[in-house]
């Protein structure tokens, strides 16, 4: 049911774990909906220099988290904000229809982490 790319990112997820000194953290989803994604960003000069994630969820949830982190690593924050769930799904050679919501969650996790970063910046600024 999953593409090879999905299975690759599921079995060897990139960027799992946490960043101790992250300056943007986002968590989306809940156990009732089936998946929880937590994303840690380390942003320097508006560039995402490091990213890690933890995910509770199905194969697609883990794979989309992994792919999303790969895609935004090294990106400018404003470009990362433009990451769409479709782009993540496409980068994984597609997702089953019933699993598309996982890619939405990945998009939302990135946005939540960046929002957290902006909020923290504001407070500090």
């Amino acid at each position: 049911m999953y593409s090879e790319k999905v299975m690759d990112h599921f079995t060897n997820p990139r960027n799992t774990g946490i960043i101790e000194d992250a300056n943007g953290i986002g968590e989306v989803g809940n156990a009732k909906c089936g998946d929880i994604m937590k994303m840690y960003l380390k942003i320097e000069n508006d560039i995402i220099v490091d990213v890690k994630f933890k995910t509770f969820g199905c194969g697609a949830a883990i794979a989309t988290s992994s792919m999303a982190t790969e895609m935004i690593k090294g990106m400018k924050v404003e470009d990362a904000l433009k990451l769409t769930n479709k782009a993540v799904a496409e980068a994984l050679d597609g997702l089953p229809q019933v699993k598309m919501h996982c890619s939405v969650l990945a998009e939302e996790a990135v946005k939540a982490a960046i929002e957290d970063y902006y909020n923290k910046q504001k407070k500090e600024g």
Partner: protein, 392 residues
Amino acid sequence: MDRIYYDHAATTYVKPYVLEKMLPYFTEKFGNPSSMYALGNEAKSALENAREMVASCLGAKKNEIYFTASGSESDNWAIRGIAHAYSNKGRHIITSNIEHHAVLNTLNDLKKEGFEITFVPVEQTGIINPETVRAAIRQDTILITVIFANNEIGTIQPIAEIGDIAKEHGVMFHTDAVQAAGHIPIDVNLLAIDALSIAAHKFYGPKGVGAIFLRNGTKIKKFITGGAQESDRRAGTENVAGIVGLANALELSLSELESSTNKIFKIRNKIIDQVLSEIPYTILNGDKEICLPGIMNFSFEFIEGESLLLMLDMKGIAVSSGSACTSGSLDPSHVLLAIGLSHELCSGSIRVSLGDDNTEEQVDYFIQSLKEIVDKLRQMSPLYEQIQLKGD
């Protein structure tokens, strides 16, 4: 690495002995049982012989057995057929909240037609208290349908007691015995059952063939109409090879029942003990004793079942998360919710279901793999992170 198949509750392979019995009916003995010439009579004899075998396996009379094409068709026919045949008496049906979707969705359909359905709850063990069934009976109750043994957690229901209550109140009683048949003894003579559904592929017979027992005198509306097959109650050229397969598989299963039950129950207990002792934050769902010999259901906190299943598969181990039939859906198992599990624990559960090909030797590899994978997934889980922090 040898593969380990731990999903016998989803489906089983056809045993060589059974396939052997089926093969002639695809080729030389291919006649239509309704045909009057010798080739047809040969097929007819095979069919009636199979009916006799199934009847004697279940303690039924030969003319109380009807063949169908699946457990789902059996459930649909029995429930719709009885509901429609008795709808002039009333339109109230009682069931449990741990039925298979073949029962559940059929009842939902009847609801749209104006039937009323009462769902009786189960205890935390997954077992129905028969008194709740009695309490649910009304003047207009026409049918009680309760699963014999549950497909997700394996618990066996008090079918004898429920049957007695049904009989006492003159209410028809159907039981979905798709998981139970071939795995525990069933004697319809000792149970006040009016209708019972089974499916061959759950006991080493072929997919695409099932049967119902329908006690003589029970009225039922036809489900598939057309030719006069199955005593004019279920139309369609009979799947002779499949039916011969079902009968032989059931007979074989019952002839080996004691030895295979002992063996499987032993492996089951070994797995349960090791999983619970070696993997923290783990729960066994259902009842450890009042259960089919081969079925276990575990919840692993902080992780999700599908990931676990896929990673076990990569190690050559096949288990299921929830029931195979609902894998199109993302809803948490209604059975696990019914026994009181949280959404998180529901999604973190897998079913391990054993069969005749499993060995004690496989257990160590399974436990080792399971431990590694559960640990890997927990390391990745934001929920486990919180626990670790708290533990610190």
